[in-house]
Amino acid sequence: MVSSFKKALESGKFVVTSEVAPPKGTNLEKMVHHIELLKDKVDAINITDHQSSVMRFPSLGGALLIKEMGGEPILQMTCRDRNRLALQADLLFASSRGIHNVLCLTGDSVLLGDHKEAKSVFDLDSSQLLAAIRRLERGKDLAGNDLDGGISFCAGAIVTPEANPLEPQLIKFEKKIEAGTEFIQTQAVYDLDRFKQFMDYARQFPAKILAGIILLTSAPMARFMNKNVAGVNVPQEPIDEMASAPKGRAIEKGIEIAGRMIMRIQEERMCDGVHIMAIGREELVPDIMAAARLV
């Protein structure tokens, strides 16, 4: 079973993914609205897994919903909350229900979320989860037992091109490639000249690379990310540009900047596509795509 996302990656087209976040509770209205907005515009929709370690409706449930609504889900799976039994079981379930894309993540610490006293698991790490998927695809579980009925996934991972120090991050990145990752969605990039340097290195590997684009919503938001989000560096220029926007028009400026960046990435064929994140403002993703002349 080859997923439509995998076909898009292999087609050589400029691939666009975005993401939606499940709600805290069972009111799925907003998530359904976001899926509705995105499902026919992007090649696949990531569904986050207890984003920032905040307990929410499960990513597996969100992925099923995307599938049922006719979209193409990328199931995000972190290693924070499930041991190897639970991770493998969820992969079996996902595959059986037609979910064939998965993004493997280590996961944030529970200390960053809203259940700070929870036990964190990390039985596997992201590269081991990738390897586990490839092993399940060969018909064996992690204990070496045969599976009755197989699975198939287009499996991906993330990288932080602006991590400091970078070298340990790249060693991990290469392990993810060796473990069988087919695509990479990067942490947000803003300095495209530096991203090009990263791509000069990354292009040697077989994985398709989608540059992470996070919508800037205000100058303070950009400064906040610089201060608090590991591996995100918004240069002064876009911060000044955001600050120069007329009152109440910062979002429009953010959309313009994101659109401009995506256009440049595409025009210069820097990488294989983009992953657009409009955290909390998913309804703006179509506007960003329009600004990038993708729709």
């Binding site: 924070r80 190897r84 993540l105 280590t106 996961g107 944030d108 610490s109 200390l111 960053l112 964190s120 990390f122 039985d123 596997l124 790490d125 992201s126 590269s127 081991q128 390897a131 586990a132 992690l142 993330i158 932080t160 991590a163 400091n164 120090p165 070298e167 340990p168 991050q169 060693i171 991990k172 290469e174 392990k175 060796e178 473990a179 942490q187 590991a230 591996g231």
Partner: protein, 217 residues
């Protein structure tokens, strides 16, 4: 030297644990908790005062040389009467000391401290966790720095995305273990060790509760 690193419980919890227990005998220890200022001579004296202020009757107190020693029962025997008068033994040692006393005396015990980790003093007044006793040592492949202990997530294949300027995502005062390991292996010219894929760990190196019996040959 390996040390048991402790921290005093909150006053609220202490008073809750001692609720209804009016007569208290206090036990400190001369080793680890003296080093961390959580159960040495000055702390035991201060606790006597604090609990007296809260209306407790202190029947006595002692700072044992080594509370986790097998001879702790003997050492406490000369305080027999004061201990007999007490409703509870309030113990300002690590959990090893508390359990040693509990095993040797038929008496209700209440810990005054939480045992945080097994580690060592790495600088004056600074204590770092060194070993989790996982039962599956990988120090030979990590330049002698333990990621199972020193990485918040216990990752064995390199850093997570939260690593930030050599520090951990949970606390900028904590080093990123994988930055330390990378630097060490680079210095040693053995970075290939870090490139090697580590299989999922055996988390049952010694299934809990640990027990080892050396058979006489």
């Amino acid at each position: 030297m390996i040390r048991s690193i402790t921290q005093q419980k909150s006053e609220e919890e202490i008073l809750r644990l001692l609720e209804g227990l009016g007569r208290v005998f206090i036990i400190g220890c001369g080793t680890c908790v003296t080093l961390t200022h959580t159960g040495g001579e000055p702390e035991v004296e201060a606790m006597k005062e604090r609990l007296s202020d809260k209306g407790k009757l202190i029947t006595g107190g002692v700072v044992l040389p080594v509370a986790c020693d097998n001879l702790t029962g003997d050492a406490l025997s000369k305080y027999g009467q004061q201990i007999a008068q007490a409703d509870v033994l309030f113990i300002m040692t690590c959990a090893f000391g508390v359990q040693t006393v509990a095993r040797q005396l038929k008496k209700l015990v209440v810990p005054a401290l939480d045992t945080l980790f097994i580690g060592k003093e790495t600088a004056l007044g600074q204590f770092d966790e060194i070993c989790l006793q996982c039962g599956a040592c990988i120090l030979g492949e990590t330049g002698g720095i333990c990621p199972v202990t020193s990485c918040h997530k216990g990752l064995v294949n390199g850093p997570c995305g939260g690593t930030n300027n050599g520090k951990c995502e949970i606390d900028s005062a904590k080093d990123c273990a994988w930055t330390l390991i990378y630097n060490r292996l680079k210095d040693l010219g053995t970075l290939d060790a870090m490139r090697r894929f580590q299989q999922p760990r055996n988390h049952q190196g010694e299934p809990k509760p640990g027990k080892l019996v050396i058979s006489a040959s």
